[in-house]
Subunit: 251 residues, 2 copies
């Protein structure tokens, strides 16, 4: 099976959570929209599938994955599908449901990280919503980030297997996604993360272990890993991550 991943070229975005799973498993895949138009790639290939009136079960938005005839949208659903096929999900149904539940909470954190720089509308530029973004950033870095990251730290601490992975006794796509969440938040909010990380030793350890996996290390060093930038989900705008952190919002 050669998997086809469709996602906007030029950014890591939500596609990166899928890429990390495919890379770690050494799966055969094509990052379709990053390929040349002449070979059936490019954004044209992505929009052609989105706009295909003959597709009975169309995805709402990228990323989506083609696996044979199957087209799957929604990042967490793609990983629910891929996990067992790539050896990156627990063997039991209960474990798989737990992994998926964690992935959905990671997705919530990612959506909120995005909305920090786009609190009013994704259809507007950041420059059109800077005052609102500054207010939202204060709440995110002071309230939501500690809540999400503290939750994942607790999940790691309570895993009775004691192997340091998020789910059961083996690495799963959840660990890869936690790596990406930490990487993105470190890029976007270095000051806020520096303040939080001392209380998140297990999460920091998962990040390091994932980064050191041979396939992931090779991927991160390759041109396939696109750099973070200010077109993606995790954006670094210094004014949204002041040092010292802003005062907490009060109601």
């Amino acid at each position: 099976m050669i998997y086809e991943l469709y996602y906007w070229p030029g950014i890591q975005g939500r596609g990166e959570f899928v890429r990390l799973a495919l890379e770690e498993a050494g799966a055969d895949y094509v990052d379709v929209a990053r390929g040349p138009d002449a070979d059936g790639g490019g954004v044209a290939a992505l929009t052609a599938l989105l706009d295909d009136a003959g597709c009975e079960r169309p995805p709402f938005a990228p990323p989506f994955l083609k696996a044979g005839e199957l087209v799957i949208g929604q990042t967490a659903a793609i990983l629910l599908f891929l996990g067992p096929r790539l050896g990156l999900a627990p063997p039991d149904e209960t474990g798989r449901l737990w992994a998926h539940q964690l992935q959905l909470t990671i997705a919530d954190a990612v959506a909120e990280a995005h909305d920090v720089h786009h609190p009013i509308a994704g259809s507007l530029y950041y420059e059109d919503q800077k005052p609102e973004a500054a207010r939202r950033a204060a709440d995110f870095t002071q309230g939501r980030m500690p809540k999400f990251l503290g939750y994942f730290e607790q999940v790691l601490a309570r895993n009775r297997c004691g192997t340091g992975w998020a789910v059961g006794d083996a690495e799963s796509y959840v660990d890869l996604s936690l790596f990406q969440l930490v990487a993105g938040l470190r890029y976007a909010f270095p000051h806020a993360m520096a303040g939080l990380e001392p209380a998140l030793p297990r999460l920091v350890e998962v990040y390091a272990r994932v980064a050191a996996r041979p396939n992931i290390a090779a991927y991160l060093a390759s041109p396939r890993r696109q750099p973070f930038n200010e077109s993606g989900i995790f954006r670094h705008y210094p004014e949204l991550d002041p040092c010292p952190p802003p005062a907490l919002l009060s109601s």
Copy 2:
């Protein structure tokens, strides 16, 4: 099996998507936090489970479902679990993945409907973010609502079974959730919905068919169905739904 649903009392919120599935299936369930404290109910029961340090796999937030020893958080994951058990999911794995993918897109729409009145922070009151909410409402009603609802209309149109349900040839939890999405948006944004509905005949039909199901009709007429209000996800603030609709945002 007696299912235990845990969700904040006093609002429909995300818990309602689970309630509708349990009600339609005639399942035995307890809406724990709406029960009296003296019987082990109330918010205390909910927070006790959230704060239980002995819970190896804690939910991040309500709603969550207890099914025997299993605790499941995340609305879409709860429905992924319940669907086949309640006869509200397709029989095949591909169909179940498609239903789940649609549910995740409904969840995205619900999150955005919430953020219209809370674009800056869930920790603040609406009154603390009214100007920002007005800007976000314009984008939501003019851009995002038509996009989400138009997508679901397209999904209904493309279902080759031709029975009018969202997935395959039978009712599923997706139809129940589409009912709730339409109900919530009609409550929150009656003017915007009145403008959109002529282009959404299949979605309007799903709403009507779900509302007429005997178990759902009985539920809606019962005190178990809490009214929409301005503490929930779908809130009606007239200033966010002007007539005529506001001009589109431009960047």
